[in-house]
Symmetry: C2
């Protein structure tokens, strides 16, 4: 994780460039838009080709053909959700300078992303992390990779903040990344479970407190 665009989703595979390809891409996207919403609520194992087909102009065997079966669909859903996450959280935060400003902007955009329910069931990755944490296989691995990429991205901007003198020299950036994701996840989970959005303000206050404890200028965290 050394580039500035580590969380950009991979580009679609090459393939036919005719009308069939275009229609296939459109169908694929329609299936995935629905699948990630369903999975954010009930998990990836609860996805069925039949339930998706019933709500789309594509039948079960068409979906199976597009994704090569259920595991292929699950993997494509994780990738699609990554793209939506990048669009909602990572891209808008790129307007902030690398380091402390980026870190704080990521935190604010993450709370917005969870609060406005980009995914119906709150953060897609929270649901599938808990679902796949004790499983093996490619879907588990994709979920772990998404988790590590996000944590590493936060950690990277914490490091840049230390290098720029925006956070103190003694800052344990792994500890800080752990605490930030803990607070964000707790806000997402608490909002869903208790139906009370006050937890987002608690998470922002906690992260602000942690950053200030490491020497961050309060003025740099004012826009939260």
């Amino acid at each position: 994780m050394t580039t500035e665009t580590p969380l950009t989703p991979t580009t679609p595979h090459d393939g036919p460039t005719d009308g069939r390809r275009v229609r296939g891409d459109r169908s694929r996207r329609a299936v995935l838009d629905l699948a990630v919403q369903d999975a954010s609520v009930r998990g990836l194992e609860a996805l069925t080709l039949g339930s998706l087909a019933a709500r789309l102009p594509v039948n079960k065997s068409g979906i199976a053909g597009l994704f090569g079966g259920k595991e292929g669909l699950q993997l494509a859903a994780v990738e699609h959700a990554r793209g939506m996450f990048v669009e909602a959280v990572v891209e808008p935060a790129r307007q902030a300078a690398p380091g402390l400003a980026r870190l704080w902007s990521l935190v604010r955009h993450w709370t917005d992303y969870s609060r406005r329910r980009v995914f119906a069931g709150g953060c897609f990755f929270r649901t599938v992390e808990v679902e796949f944490d004790t499983r093996d296989g490619d879907v588990h691995d994709a979920v772990v990779t998404a988790h590590r990429d996000w944590t590493s991205y936060l950690r990277r901007h914490a490091e840049l903040a230390v290098e720029a003198g925006e956070l103190g020299d003694g800052t344990d950036v792994d500890q800080l990344a752990f605490e930030i994701t803990a607070m964000l996840n707790a806000a997402n989970d608490g909002s869903l479970l208790l139906g009370d959005d006050a937890v987002y303000d608690r998470a922002l206050a906690a992260v602000r407190g942690a950053l200030e404890a490491h020497g961050a200028d309060p003025a740099a965290l004012a826009a939260g």
Copy 2:
């Protein structure tokens, strides 16, 4: 939540006191011991009477009779898991004095409870909270009650710590309880997902830092 025993599970309902009752209680306990382990891994919706019966000396209709169907089984599993949680976390922490010592002891016992996998899938309540957060009904309500009771219990001992001068007057005990549960849950989830128990030390360090930031004597937190 005003008593010292708020998390004690409710006593079993009254019923026949003869041998049938004793056998029924024994069967009930055997089913629930297995059900909470399964549910901690795959959730309460994945429980089936058939799968439980296949591993126990009681058949499907026997289980249905004991619990009145699947929702009854799910509710009984939540109650049973509460009892195990009390035994693993709340009871041992009662050896510590109310206030800061109790609060810190609860945190340490919680990390032990998660780390030694009292439930095969880590904290039972983490799995079912994420599973039921967007559902309605009695099981959702039981899960929310368990969550609120635990948070309130932590909050209560934070309050007692403030009253005793062990934490500063300005301590926001709701915020503190939010941060403590956020760290504990993140450790549980991270340990399961990443297979690395270093997160428990991160959670303990984070909670210790939060308590010290509110004026806790570091010596009182030494045994962590």
